[in-house]
């Protein structure tokens, strides 16, 4: 669906991403894992087309509809309902369908009763679910997520993970960066490990967690590189 060849991104003198090669297949749920500063976010942005890079990005027609959900959800100073309407308008959804799609999206996220409230008045977990509902409403083929549960408490985290699992079941392709190895294990079909701007490993989830890679990766998996596991 989407491939990236030899992509590098520099910010000033810092190489955020070096020679990244990655293919995303339909139905994948790819987890990008790695320490802070390993290039997960940059890789996500390069895949989504938000940042310039030196490589080649090829997007299949079926993967044209893409949305990204960020660690901190950005909501306009509008009601929950209107935030959805704006998203549907931006995505070019047919006007006749917008109300129906917005309604369904809010129900799935359990936010329909709150549709009249100011979106920014919702709790952190609710806003993240709203961001997911907003993304889902626009029927993306490919969904990118940048550490979507990093700021959430455990119960909110579980709700978000449930939504993501459901998306996967319904056929959406997802690429998610996370520093939570347990989450990667639970949700992903494939794990891509980054270290200091380079992709070090790209394996199916079981294979990744079973194998020994290099010493540094082992340290990471054991949690000696500063990271938590849940």
């Amino acid at each position: 669906m989407l491939s990236l060849d030899n992509a590098s991104v520099r910010y000033g003198s810092v190489a955020a991403l070096s020679d990244a090669n990655l293919r995303i297949e339909r139905g994948d749920f790819v987890a990008l894992i790695g320490a802070n500063g390993s290039g997960k976010t940059t890789l996500l942005q390069a895949l989504h087309g938000l940042v310039a890079h030196t490589g080649v990005r090829t997007v299949a027609k079926e993967a044209a509809a893409q949305v990204m959900v960020f660690q901190r959800p950005f909501m306009l100073r509008l009601s929950v309902w209107n935030n959805l309407r704006v998203a549907l308008w931006l995505a070019g959804a047919p006007p006749a369908e917008r109300a129906a799609r917005a309604t369904e999206a809010l129900h799935r996220a359990g936010l329909f009763e709150l549709r009249g409230r100011q979106a920014r008045a919702l709790s952190g977990g609710q806003q993240q679910r709203l961001a997911l509902a907003r993304a889902w409403a626009t029927r993306p083929a490919l969904l990118f997520l940048d550490e979507p549960t990093a700021n959430l408490d455990p119960s909110a985290k579980r709700e978000v993970e449930a939504m993501l699992a459901r998306f996967k079941l319904e056929g959406m392709t997802l690429v998610m960066s996370t520093h939570n190895l347990g989450q990667a294990k639970r949700l992903a079909t494939r794990v891509v490990y980054l270290d200091r701007g380079r992709i070090r490993a790209d394996l199916a989830t079981d294979a990744f967690f079973a194998r020994h890679l290099d010493a540094r990766t082992d340290l990471f998996l054991k949690g000696e590189l500063p990271w938590d596991m849940e």
Binding site: L78, W81, N82, N83, R85, V86, L88, W89, A99
Partner: protein, 288 residues
């Protein structure tokens, strides 16, 4: 369309309506009445003549006269640029030059008022009398115990031009030049009549003023009229229609209507009828 989007489109539409409405108010207002722009002087406006004179003209002709009051020099400039349709000023020499240069149709005398020399009631320089030139000589030669100050408008106005003529007649080419041993202080303010009077009031100085502004001036302090009645103090007003040959857009016909009216018996009588505190200010003297 979504609620949020309707909000947005509604906002845009509202702005468009607001602009249209304000435009409708602001622009055609100019086109409604018949009107002319008259460039006159600040001292004439401050004398209060116009609220008395112009409504009478409007009643007779239906024409609004919009007065832009500036200094004589600036008024003539407006005439040269064609921004005024008619001039109503009081500097005969400059007016003749203006007409000679082709900017205006022949000038007509309308009325005169007079200048008066104002000063502190204590009159330290002893100038009181009926002779303006003698008074100014005394001021410049003053050796009074306290410094004697004179406030000049110094703004290219008709009043300023007159003031310089009187100094010249008194043999003083440049009153600003300090003479050794004399305590005379010449203050040039570059301002109109009102502020000049304000300054004179606060400094207890002498100042040449037109009687009209003086009669309307409320901040007198210790000032009073010291010299008046000298024929040389008479201040002649002229009206000049701006030459359409130079600026075809000027409203010549309407301006001519005012010029004709103000020298007519009706206009002249209206001028004479204007009084402040029972005193007549302007004396009509248009040629028959």
């Amino acid at each position: 369309m979504g609620h949020g989007m309707k909000h947005f489109a509604g906002r845009r539409a509202a702005i468009a309506w607001l602009l249209a409405g304000l435009g409708a108010v602001a622009l055609p207002a100019a086109a409604q009445d018949k009107f002319i722009v008259m460039a006159s002087t600040t001292s004439t406006e401050q004398s209060g003549l116009f609220p008395h004179l112009l409504p009478a003209f409007k009643k007779a002709s239906g024409i609004d006269v919009r007065v832009v009051a500036v200094g004589t020099g600036q008024a003539l400039d407006m005439g040269r640029r064609g921004d005024a349709d008619i001039l109503f000023v009081h500097d005969t020499v400059a007016e003749e030059k203006f007409v000679a240069e082709g900017f205006g149709l022949p000038r007509r005398g309308v009325m005169y008022n007079d200048f008066v020399l104002i000063g502190p009631a204590s009159d330290p320089a002893g100038v009181k009398g009926r002779d303006i030139v003698a008074a100014l000589s005394k001021l410049a030669a003053s050796n009074a115990a306290a410094p004697v100050a004179f406030v000049s408008r110094a703004d290219k106005s008709g009043t300023h031009a007159a003031e310089l003529r009187y100094w010249k007649s008194a043999g003083i080419d440049d009153p600003a030049v300090k003479v050794a041993g004399k305590l005379f202080d010449y203050r040039a303010c570059g301002c109109s009549m009102g502020p000049a009077l304000n300054i004179a009031a606060s400094l207890e100085a002498y100042v040449l003023a037109d009687r009209g502004t003086w009669l309307s001036f409320k901040n007198r302090g210790n000032l009073t009229v010291l010299v008046e009645g000298d024929k040389r103090l008479f201040n002649q007003y002229g009206v000049i229609v701006v030459n359409p040959a130079r600026h075809p857009q000027t409203k010549t016909a309407l301006a001519q209507a005012f010029s004709d009216w103000v020298v007519s018996a009706d206009g002249q009588a209206t001028i004479a009828a204007y009084k402040i505190g029972g005193e007549q200010l302007f004396f009509p003297n248009a040629a028959r």
